[in-house]
Symmetry: C2
Amino acid sequence: MSLPRPRKTRKGALPFDRHVPGIEYGVLDQLAGYAIRRAQIAIYEELDRELSPLKITPPRFSSLVLIEGNPGVLQTELARIIGVGGPAMVAIVDYLQAQGWVRREAHDGDRRANRLVLTTKGRAHLQRAKELLMKLDAGWTSRLSSSERATLMALLDKVAPPLAT
Amino acid sequence: MSLPRPRKTRKGALPFDRHVPGIEYGVLDQLAGYAIRRAQIAIYEELDRELSPLKITPPRFSSLVLIEGNPGVLQTELARIIGVGGPAMVAIVDYLQAQGWVRREAHDGDRRANRLVLTTKGRAHLQRAKELLMKLDAGWTSRLSSSERATLMALLDKVAPPLAT
DNA sequence: TATTGTTATACTCTATAACTATA
DNA sequence: TATAGTTATAGAGTATAACAATA
């Protein structure tokens, strides 16, 4: 199985309703995990549509932000941070490099490794993407007060699988 | 693009860390949408691993719960409720029917439509799945008090894209 | 031997379009 | 004409395995 892969924008079909009137949701309404899933699905459609003209996807965005904040980060480190496999990371970096947003630089002292850095063009593009994403995020949380928003993020941070001791 | 599809259980590769020490997350830490995504990714690996022996996936689980709570629901209604397309719903119902968990029944008055109902076997299987999922969910929220858990779910319910007026 | 990165391949899930049978 | 459901097909995205170069 795989993560509830987000969905592309569907055309004639089936807008996602979080709570259809008259429908009994049973245990789904008692599961925090399902509430998270619903929120993600609700967000994803707009996220996809808005990010698409910028040729950005969530993993690409995360990668750019993390490369900007941690210049010289290795591909393997980045893969672990954002939670994708090695081959997927190769594809992401290939794409970012083809767009001229990222460079692979040599690592002094380990000739196997790639240090990743943003180009000037990449930094400018990321800036636009960040502004768009902050605007979208503000929209998704527009029904929350700023203290509710902070609470939500703090609580989400405490949600995780039990540590595999 | 599509929803960050959850990931299958990866073998040798790359456990997901929500916050790697020493890494600068930049704007990611300010985005509620990213906090939701992180929580979902963190949950998904265990969810997948635990549900897999029961031959259940999140959409299958949601479908079973909704069919149980809304016996006779139409396929198209169900698709809209859980947010998948028509062909995806066909595949899900085909699978649930092949397992003997669900029956397609005729709709008096509209011979195009399928009414979906659980079988006795399906009800029993769903019961096991529900118990497992409630246990897992309790684990994911074990660091939250019961009032924090309720707050989290209420706040998540208020998260959504701006209404497309 | 282990690790970084890469390639090749298969699989899953989804979207799209086209079709049927009804309405 | 529109809708419920189905089929067929193609596309993303991911996982797996195998490999090269280096440690």
